[in-house]
Symmetry: C2
């Protein structure tokens, strides 16, 4: 069994994972959980793959917005199209940082532009556009395909949960349908188990397709995550993993189960393995980790390898 977490160092964190799995899957154990209730939830950006220098979805959107600004010069003076067209990544990074600090003043502009990029498209059209991005795009600093930007130890953890008859879900603040074209290939998580932020959808009877509206349906972060988990699964998870303040309610929700494990990935790696350290947007989660009993995963100390080998 230990064999399967080969990119994890032999630390108390790894032991906590193994002890949890043994406790909930060994028949006769006081903490035994039947297969149907073995639900595990994972945040995506920063938990299953790198979110630096920017979330992958933002890379996709920058390409879309740049193309839109070139096609319609009236857009080129407006944010975030101007930032995309001029490569002003600082404006975008600041908008995200502001959100995690509780200031959504620029987030509205971003959300409006996100909506505009898919409004009117059928779900199949958007799926094809996103699939093409995953095929062609290269990560902005690592230079690799996005398939190589996943955290290898977390993929091994998903495989291990699979082997113990868990149903693993992604529960992300990222757009649900932006994740779906890659989650099976990258993580082995099928499309029906991807929960995320959603644009509105409506059925177009004439064309017999489902299309995106220009409206944000919901932003799947913070207290929205436990509610969305219930809507999808009808269960309270027994395992949760996240890496930011927005994951606290989801981690706490899982902890309401009789036996649970709540992992908080901490990006503290200063060893130059490509996952630069940061605490921004995680301050509250780290401060509360001990009080809540979150198991903190140190990228530096607990992982022997960060990204997959070629």
């Amino acid at each position: 069994m230990n064999e399967q977490l080969r990119s994890w160092n032999d630390t108390p964190t790894r032991s906590a994972v193994l002890e949890f799995l043994s406790a909930v899957t060994t028949e006769g154990s006081p903490d035994f959980v039947p297969v149907e209730a073995r639900v595990a939830v994972f945040d995506n950006d920063g938990t299953l793959w790198t979110e630096k220098p920017m979330p992958t979805q933002l890379h996709y959107l920058l390409q879309q917005w740049k193309a839109a600004a070139e096609a319609d010069p009236a857009l080129a003076d407006k944010q975030p199209y101007r930032a995309a067209a001029t490569g002003d990544l600082a404006w975008l990074g600041a908008a995200i940082d502001k959100h995690y600090a509780g200031d959504d003043s620029d987030l509205g502009l971003l959300i409006a532009a996100v909506s505009a990029s898919s409004a009117g498209a059928s779900v199949e059209e958007y799926e094809a556009s996103v699939a093409a991005f995953y095929r062609d795009a290269r990560h902005l600093t690592l230079g690799s395909s996005y398939a190589r930007t996943v955290y290898q130890p977390m993929v091994e953890l998903i495989r291990m949960l699979d082997a113990h008859d868990f149903r693993t879900y992604i529960v992300s603040g990222g757009d649900r349908d932006f994740m779906r074209p890659m989650t099976q290939d990258y993580y082995g998580i099928p499309t029906q188990r991807v929960i995320g932020t959603a644009m509105g959808l409506e059925y177009d009877a004439d064309a017999n397709v489902v299309r995106y509206t220009s409206r944000l349906a919901f932003f799947d972060d913070g207290p929205e995550k436990p509610a969305r988990i219930w809507m999808r699964t009808g269960r309270r998870p027994i395992f949760a993993a996240g890496n930011s303040n927005g994951d606290i309610p989801m981690l706490r929700f899982a902890q309401g189960s009789p036996r649970s494990l709540a992992l908080l990935v901490h990006h503290d790696d200063d060893s130059g393995r490509g996952d630069a350290p940061y605490d921004k947007g995680v301050e509250k989660a780290l401060a509360e980790a001990s009080a809540h009993g979150f198991t903190v995963v140190s990228v530096r100390d607990d992982w022997s390898q960060v990204f997959p080998t070629e």
Copy 2:
């Protein structure tokens, strides 16, 4: 294989089901569909179990409203509490019929009372209340447990789809969380594959529970069904079964797949087997069945047995 649809007569309808299954699951067939794309969707009330003399959820709600009117006499003069307290089923039946005829004047009162019956409860509290109903309630005309009001031929069809590696979903206008406590036992459909009308949910961090708000989140009928199917599954189904006008968009959506089967259950049984004939709320679907290529399932002619034997 035919053995498994033993409550179906040997008619063209049964042949259509068998031919479809063979076409999409036989490797090398021009219509072969890989396992991950084998998604089947079923309406619930009137498709998988009887909806007469009223949808099961209404029976539950009548009990709740009657108890509420007894506890709070101010409610006893208001609809639908008055109808519940006095046993005036005609008012309720008319409200439902009006809805299916396009008149939602009484539906608003019903929805408000539905919301009030769960508002503030945690999802686990409501789950326990509903589970107690399924344990104790008896069908109003058949006198049996609700487990005995499912359509045996449809349960056999679900089993057969399971055996062919389909993922079967319920997509109902009924309340999602009212169905969840019974779908595994009655149909073998797990809780994460139940799609339905939903009350709003919010996370209560202090109590660490998810609670219902007093707001209807969405009514899962008509054109909402294809959108909700996409949200949950990220797929266009290849099989759909329904029995009312509200199922037309879902049936049509499935038919957008290269090979599909769309079943419309027609309650035309005049043989006294407990499923009285009716066309109300199905008129449009029946009128369009031929043009759209819906396969009409005649309860009278296609089913040798309607309900499970003891």
